[in-house]
């Protein structure tokens, strides 16, 4: 049976059903079911999950100035981004403006997190969808050295001896039975296309990235006072500046600024000499694998971030672009207002919640979380052991956020499509340059690899922006401004009886918003709409499928029982979900259990 979705997909549920079922506690349970036809092509995709919307539960009645510390604990990676979004929401609600230095420092921290997350995602979570570390053991170190010098002549670590050492280390590690990091791969699947030398080069950079990421986070220790879990402050940043100070506890002095500067340079160098060349080199072997574009060519949303000046979030002042593209019309970029009750709305027709009436959308300020867990008439299994979902009914714990009724993709590719469509100079130059190097048309951008490439380009761009804000910070300090916080409205007696606000950021994996209502100095309601809620959204009342679902459509699977292609595409979104997958045969019998990294 086939159905046509309003956002342009033909769904056919007649073929074999494959269930990929990951489980987690923290960010909820994500599961994916697809139908494949006789040729192994995906003809229907169903993404489901719990993003247990528990924050209102925890934050209700608490001090708004503490909300960042709670939101920092939602997740182990977006810690800083949630904290930043939270302090912005409170500042917006209470009309608190932050000083110039605080804006520069927050931007440096946010950009730093962006770079850290992109590099860690690529090398430690996503690369293994393309790179086979076991195959790297068969590589010739001399040929690997030649490959490295051809791919990135400026990278100093390229001698045959260096690659031989890494290969020996890897061999020892694999032989010791500690394959932990690389286990559960489908290492003999024909979907892996790299020669052993490229596998060894990429695996070597996996190790180099591990060393770099430890350096990168030191920026958070310096500006956030500590890491893990850096400190944040409503009204600014909690670090005093004392450039003349020598070893003053906690204060930012020249020695610390010099350390930040050297880390920024290391990021720029790694992006240019390692990350981007690797994406070009690996992508070159997969140029014909252009699946996974999904909504990226049709509907993209970005809130924008990295304001040039404090307290000014107007679109033209943001270095990461803001805008919405709908109906595949790249000639028109709409502005986005998170306060407008008609723009961002969440629907629950296919989610396990109820608003009391069908087809209703609620703006996050008016968000309601009333669970209603029921399986559709065509579901198989029981409530505690679902074998097959009925996507015609309620089927996910994720609500369906929509922008003016449209299902949207968020994340690095969405930001780059919006930026490209707006003629953002840096983004356009980067994208055109990459496509030229790889001899690919613009349409290649709308793919799984396009998403992966956009992340690498963004990491490079963020490195330059980090330097810009560092220079700005130093210049401002030189001009005699050492202010880092505005505490005028710190005391709740200065607040209005009731207030509401919104904080927005571009988290590494996409547009993030926190909506807060404050009453009598306490939190009355708090709602987060996180990037994975947008991308992992279920269908809505009109039948529009979400970004994950759309991205899987029409993909050809080499071996349906080994879902490499599904994982590749889902991973390319950098979803914040834990995965342990069970692949089931059509009669519901479990075939394989794998963990997804």
């Amino acid at each position: 049976m086939t159905t046509q979705t309003p956002n342009g997909y033909t769904l056919d549920t007649s073929g074999k059903r494959i269930v990929v079922d990951p489980v987690t506690r923290i960010e909820g349970h994500m599961r994916c079911e697809v139908n494949v036809n006789d040729e192994g092509i995906i003809t229907n995709a169903v993404s489901t999950g719990t993003m247990w919307r528990g924050l209102e539960v925890i934050l209700k009645g608490r001090d708004p100035r503490d909300a960042w510390a709670f939101t920092e604990r939602i997740c182990g990676v977006c810690t800083g981004t949630h904290a930043l979004t939270s302090v912005r929401a409170v500042e917006d609600a209470l009309g608190i403006s932050i000083p110039d230095n605080a804006n520069s420092i927050r931007n440096i921290m946010q950009l730093n997190l962006q770079i850290h997350d992109h590099i860690v995602h690529f090398y430690h979570l996503h690369a293994l969808d393309w790179v086979n570390p076991v195959n790297a053991l068969r590589a010739d170190p001399k040929a690997t050295s030649e490959l490295q010098q051809a791919v990135s002549p400026s990278h100093p670590l390229s001698s045959p001896g260096y690659f031989r050492d890494v290969q020996n280390r890897l061999k020892k590690f694999v032989e010791s039975g500690q394959l932990g990091l690389f286990k559960n791969g489908y290492w003999d699947n024909p979907a892996y296309l790299l020669p052993p030398e490229a596998d060894l080069m990429a695996t070597t950079h996996y190790l180099e990235a591990l060393d770099l990421q430890k350096e990168i986070v030191k920026v958070h220790t310096i500006f956030g006072g500590k890491n893990p879990h850096p400190n944040w402050l409503v009204g600014g940043v909690p670090c005093p500046i004392n450039v003349d100070g020598v070893g003053a506890v906690g204060a930012i002095n020249m020695e610390r600024l010099n350390l930040v500067s050297s880390i920024i340079d290391k990021c720029i160098e790694f992006n240019r000499n390692v990350y981007l060349p690797d994406v070009v080199a690996i992508g070159g072997f997969y140029k014909n694998w252009l699946y996974g574009g999904g909504l990226s060519s049709k509907a993209c949303l970005a809130y924008g971030d990295i304001p040039e000046n404090p307290n000014d979030f107007s679109a033209e002042q943001l270095h990461l672009p803001r805008g919405a593209i709908i109906n595949g019309n790249l000639n028109e970029v709409h502005d986005v207002d998170p306060r407008d009750p008609e723009q961002v709305q969440e629907f629950v027709d296919h989610s396990w919640y109820t608003y009391g009436e069908p087809g209703k959308g609620l703006h996050p300020w008016d968000g309601v979380t009333e669970p209603k867990f029921e399986l559709g008439p065509n579901a198989k299994g029981t409530k505690t052991n679902i074998q097959e979902l009925d996507e015609a009914a309620k089927y996910s714990w994720i609500k369906a956020p929509r922008w003016r009724g449209n299902a949207m993709e968020v994340g690095p590719l969405a930001r780059y499509v919006v930026g490209y469509a707006k003629g953002h100079e840096d983004i356009k130059n980067q994208v055109d340059g990459l496509l030229r190097t790889m001899n690919l048309p613009v349409s290649a951008l709308f793919s799984t690899l396009g998403r992966t490439a956009a992340r690498a380009l963004e990491s490079e761009y963020c490195g330059r922006l980090q330097k810009h804000f560092f220079d700005k910070l130093v210049q401002n300090i030189k001009n005699g401004d050492s202010s880092t916080a505005n505490v005028e409205k710190w005391d709740p007696s200065t607040w209005p009886k009731e207030a509401k606000g919104v904080g927005m950021t571009e988290a590494p994996r996409g547009a993030l918003g926190h909506w807060i209502r404050i009453k009598d100095g306490r939190i009355e309601n708090y709602q987060c709409v996180v990037p994975t809620t947008w991308n992992g959204s279920p269908r809505d009342a009109a039948g529009n499928i979400g970004a994950f679902e759309a991205s899987l459509m029409n993909t050809k699977m080499e071996r349906p029982e080994e879902p490499v292609e599904i994982l590749r595409t889902l991973h390319s979104f950098d979803p914040c979900l834990a995965c342990s997958t069970h692949v089931m045969s059509p009669d519901g019998q479990e075939l394989t259990t794998v963990k997804v990294r």
């Binding site: 719990t50 539960v57 979570l125 990091l181 060393d211 500590k226 879990h229 867990f373 834990a578 342990s580």
Partner: protein, 210 residues
């Protein structure tokens, strides 16, 4: 087992304080810093669920002592101490999310880089309840904080660091707003904030703290 005594020790509490007994490890380090005076070469830290972010701290220590809530399949509230090679197998069960790289993977990564701590001791507690988002420690688990710290003191003494009562000044613990008293004391009542959800994740027993 290395012959020499460690020069540097890291005491790490890991887990997510937002998931009831999952917060055991973090609460242990919080309490220990208030009750014991640790010498300079013993660092105590709230590791949360930070995964790879913890790698640099692991690399710079000779001995690592971890407090954590672990599923040993034992009676809830039971403590267990594991050492060195016994540890990773148990920690694998706790992988929390794609990004919260399991602590097992962090240990494996340190080993791959050839910079894993020479000694490793895990003091784990079998949780009573994990599926209560926003909840605090259940009494049976909270009661194990003091005995867990006693084990830690014995281990540190064995490593050549006799520990005395007192307190430790450190910036490596949780913000005061989510320390145990503030966090558990400030929780809204069930009738104010809905605590139910997916039956698979919110069993009936979790709706009201025991």
């Amino acid at each position: 087992m290395p012959a020499s005594q460690p020069e540097k020790v890291l005491i790490l509490g890991i887990g997510n304080v937002l998931w009831a007994d999952e917060g055991f490890g973090v609460r242990c380090v919080e309490t220990m810093a208030q009750s014991h005076a640790l010498p300079e070469d013993v660092r105590i830290m709230d590791g949360g669920t930070q995964g790879l972010y913890l790698l640099p701290f692991l690399e710079e220590t000779d001995a690592l002592l971890v407090f954590d809530a672990i599923d040993f399949g034992l009676e809830p509230g039971t403590l267990r101490v594991l050492r060195d090679d016994e540890v990773p197998a148990f920690m694998g069960a706790k992988k929390m999310s794609l990004h919260q790289t399991g602590f097992q993977d962090v240990l494996a990564t340190a080993a791959l880089l050839g910079r894993a701590p020479e000694r490793l001791t895990l003091i784990g507690c079998q949780p009573v309840e994990l599926e209560d988002y926003g909840g605090g420690l259940r009494p049976a688990v909270a009661a194990q904080i003091a005995p867990a710290i006693d084990y830690a003191v014995a281990e540190l003494t064995h490593w050549g660091f006799p520990i005395v009562a007192g307190s430790t000044e450190t910036g490596d613990l949780a913000d005061s707003s989510i320390r145990r008293d503030a966090y558990e004391g400030g929780r809204p009542a069930a009738h104010e904030a809905c605590r139910t959800g997916d039956e698979r994740f919110f069993p009936t027993s979790a709706k009201e703290p025991a």
